[in-house]
């Protein structure tokens, strides 16, 4: 037979259903290239060019270090981020320890409260601290007692960032501390090991990757955050505010790109460390491990409860002050109730339309983003063929996690504002805001989808092919119904983040597409902190409502598509 003699490798004919899958996968790849790789490449290009587009090598970087004010920002950013990390990681560790390893009452309530800062834009904390410790703050005297001249600057940034970053570190550390093998502790007990020694020989080594990851994430979040330093930073310059000033204020795109590269570096490092940590952490807990269940211990549990109460009080104080200030007539002179800030914000300053824009952005991001992310993850994980395209999409899907929003937004300006770009017509449209936000938060959604898809039997597609059922039918009848809870999670994640994000969209809005989080910045700049607080509270409220709606949707989905799970 000729086939035996043929020297060529045998290639299976591609069935037209598979061809369709390849086309869809290529579509996802093109989308990610156009809206992620392209913008990032233009940031890199700008950083090594002069304003006329001539290649300069590293001259822009040298010029940067010769500008004393800018170099100082680099140092400011670094030490502030280090300080916040040094406070947040131990604080979150104790909280996570209380949740995972004690018999404290009302664990889920404590946890929920500690995570609520995620629902609001980070600058809500900055506004609230201004009310507490600012020039007309309630506890202004505390600051002077501590020898701190003013909350504006590093002290305010550190305080507000601690509040904003805490829940991120907490989530990582709770996961790390929940992955404990009870057998190790039983073995230690059998050998008569003291509680302290168990902590240092079992607990801490077991959580070390989580701690490293939490530290890296905290550092990156702080150094790339824009909203807090903008509101409470005063004259204290950091990298993130520099980017904004250089690009929007001075139109110096090249220096802006250089600063963006500095912001990209820690994020990239965090990403690499985090990937490494993920592989380590999952391999640590084998299938045979017995989950650890904490035993009651009155003194310890009481101490943990006390600590968590303190942290929750801190959260309440921040939210409460923002809420209170938003309803006060004229701080600090007339503290009677008034809704005038809401009226002022929503009506007089047209935040109403910005709020509608935010909801539109969140709605379309959650809808389109979930569809794209899940389709991408499905095509990568579950279809056959096009093997060269698969790793490309996988890599592109992971990159957004390593790209701070500011850098992405900057890339979008460079890339889409360029008249040569055929996609130029998208610039300053809501469509571009939606796409930018989807890309910005792509990775977490992608990983959630991949995890859900990996839990499915790898042979479903093989079985379907042998039964001559096209892949989309199995996708529709089996894959999608099983994965709906994950879809709800992804959609909620997109919605909340689209509501609260500032960093990427700050470069991209037009008067018509201004979103609420940006409007808060503008109100604050215009000397209307009360209205700014009111709008921040509105965003948090909208996020909260969205969470409750998602909870309901999740419950319905659970009931209608997951009945097969609990049928023993």
């Amino acid at each position: 037979m000729s086939a035996v003699l043929a020297a060529d490798r045998v290639r299976l004919r591609v069935h037209w259903t598979d061809r369709t899958a390849h086309l869809l996968l290529a579509g996802i790849a093109i989308l990610l290239v156009a809206f992620l790789a392209g913008p990032l490449a233009s940031v890199l290009a700008q950083s090594v060019e002069d304003s006329g587009g001539r290649f300069l090598g590293l001259d822009n970087f040298f010029a940067y270090f010769e500008t004393p004010a800018l170099a100082e920002s680099l140092w400011n950013s670094v030490w502030v981020s280090l300080l916040v990390t040094a406070v947040v990681v131990p604080a979150a560790f104790v909280f996570a320890y209380a949740i995972a390893r004690s018999c404290m009452p009302m664990k889920s309530a404590f946890r929920t409260i500690a995570l609520t800062p995620l629902l609001a834009p980070s600058l809500l904390a900055a506004i609230s601290f201004i009310y507490w410790f600012g020039n007309q703050g309630v506890l202004k005297d505390w600051m002077s007692a501590l020898g701190i001249a003013s909350i504006y600057g590093a002290p305010g940034i550190v305080l507000a960032e601690i509040f904003a970053v805490f829940p991120h570190a907490l989530m990582i550390l709770v996961t790390a501390l929940s992955l404990a093998d009870a057998r190790l502790y039983e073995a230690a007990d059998a050998l008569g090991t003291s509680r302290l020694r168990k902590f240092f020989t079992i607990t801490l080594p077991g959580a070390k990757y989580g701690i490293a990851s939490a530290a890296m994430v905290s550092f990156t979040l702080v150094i790339t955050d824009f909203g807090i330093p903008k509101v409470i930073g005063g004259n204290f310059n950091v990298l993130a505010t520099d980017v904004f000033k250089l690009v929007i204020g001075q139109q110096d795109f090249q220096k802006g790109a250089v600063v963006a590269i500095f912001l990209l570096a820690p994020a990239l490092l965090t990403f690499v460390v985090d990937r490494f940590v993920q592989t380590k952490q999952t391999s640590m807990l084998t299938a045979r491990a017995v989950p650890y269940a904490p035993k009651p211990s009155a003194g310890f549990d009481a101490a943990m409860t006390g600590y968590c109460v303190l942290v929750t009080l801190f959260v309440f104080a921040v939210f409460g002050m923002a809420l209170f200030a938003s309803f006060v007539k004229f701080w600090p002179y007339d503290l009677s109730f008034s809704a005038r800030h809401y009226v002022l914000g929503l009506v007089d300053n047209e935040v109403g339309s910005a709020f509608v824009n935010s909801l539109t952005l969140a709605f379309f991001t959650s809808l389109v983003g979930t569809a794209i992310v899940f389709a991408g993850a499905y095509l990568v994980e579950k279809t056959r063929g096009a093997d060269w395209l698969r790793p490309v999409v996988q890599l592109l899907a992971l990159i957004p996690m390593a790209v701070p929003g500011l850098v992405l937004g900057l890339g979008y300006i460079f890339f889409f504002n360029s008249p040569q770009n055929p996609l130029n017509f998208l610039y300053a449209t809501m469509t571009l805001l939606v796409l930018c936000t989807i890309v910005h938060f792509y990775t977490t959604g992608h990983l959630t989808a991949v995890t859900a898809l990996k839990a499915l039997d790898a042979e479903f597609e093989s079985v379907s092919a042998s039964l001559k059922v096209p892949f989309w039918k199995t996708f529709w009848r089996v894959t999608l119904p099983i994965c709906t809870p994950a879809l709800v999670d992804i959609s909620r994640y997109f919605f909340i983040n689209a509501m609260t994000t500032i960093s990427a969209v700050v470069f991209l809005y037009s008067p018509d597409t201004k979103v609420a989080s940006i409007a808060i910045l503008n109100l604050d700049e215009a000397g209307e902190p009360g209205a700014a607080a009111a709008m921040a509270i509105l965003i948090a409220a909208a996020s909260l409502v969205a969470c409750i709606v998602y909870l309901g949707v999740g419950w319905l989905v659970e009931r209608n598509t997951q009945a097969w799970r609990n049928t023993k």
Binding site: L12, H15, F460, S462, A465, S466, L467, K468, K473
Partner: protein, 358 residues
Amino acid sequence: MPGAESFLRLEGIRKDFGAFTALRDIRLEVAQGEFVCFLGPSGCGKTTLLRIIAGLEAQSAGSIWQGGRDISSLPPAQRDYGIVFQSYALFPNLSVFDNVSYGLVNRRTDRAAIRSRVAELLRLVGLPDSGAKYPAQLSGGQQQRIALARALATSPGLLLLDEPLSALDAIVRVHLRQEIRSLQQRLGVTTIMVTHDQEEALSMADRIVVMNQGVIDQVGTPLEVYREPATPFVADFVGKVNLLEGRVEGPGRVRVGSHSFAGASCNGSIGRAVKAYLRPEDIVARPIAEGDPNVIDSRIDKIEFLGSYCLVRVAAEGLERLPLTVYLSLNFLAEQNLKPGSPLRLRILAERMRVFDA
């Protein structure tokens, strides 16, 4: 070997994964209605070969013919087979009925026909009333039967089983293998099963394909593979075996230690180093008459109780460095009052020895 009427024919199949060659020059013919087992240790390439037959992997070279049709480059959807995986791969969110009818819905429009076909299949696999249940409500063995029903629903010409019993408990496994075998014989469907369990292969297959490191070592009936292993690997992998290292002493004579065994099937140059493989049941404790050839004296070293018979390890005189394993019935041990340390006279059935070059 089946001749011209072979249903499935593999010619020169080769599979490379980068620099690693997983399969080389696989040639095999399977007759219509035959039950063939691919047997080998993990990593021998048996699953890869099955996936190539299914079109789930592409071979690097070689061709596949099924029912007179060249299917070498066809995607899975254009081939004709049903497949059952070790993991069952039942759709967990669909009822048993929907699982079994999954491939039928696509080609037949008549709902009544589908219903009666599913009912027939469920009866066939012995679970007639389970149509409304979800897979999670069934035991592992029941789930695997449903997977079998789903694979057979479209009456494929070829049934592929990828370690279908490996995930099951020992008792269910033994029970289900007989059921699969009798079902296969009743339907007459040509079947290929991949397994690493030699007992499974011996008890189910018409023919066994023993694979090792990407090549086929032997193709034969279970008895052939057991009694006349073609290579040392096959002798070692299938069943228990004693390995005796020695030299050819003359026609049919092999010297091992200080013994010379006559009647072995070996020829070739005198003095050649050989390995002789001998099954435990080919070393017997009775009957032994005065003057029998190939008799050795030994001392019992260890007795491993396995139920009605025991696996007895002995140290034979003149074979000090080669402990031998023999099967002795529990009754025999009791009658003779044998314990570790007891002397035991054994006869080697040298004509059963398989002798290979060392």
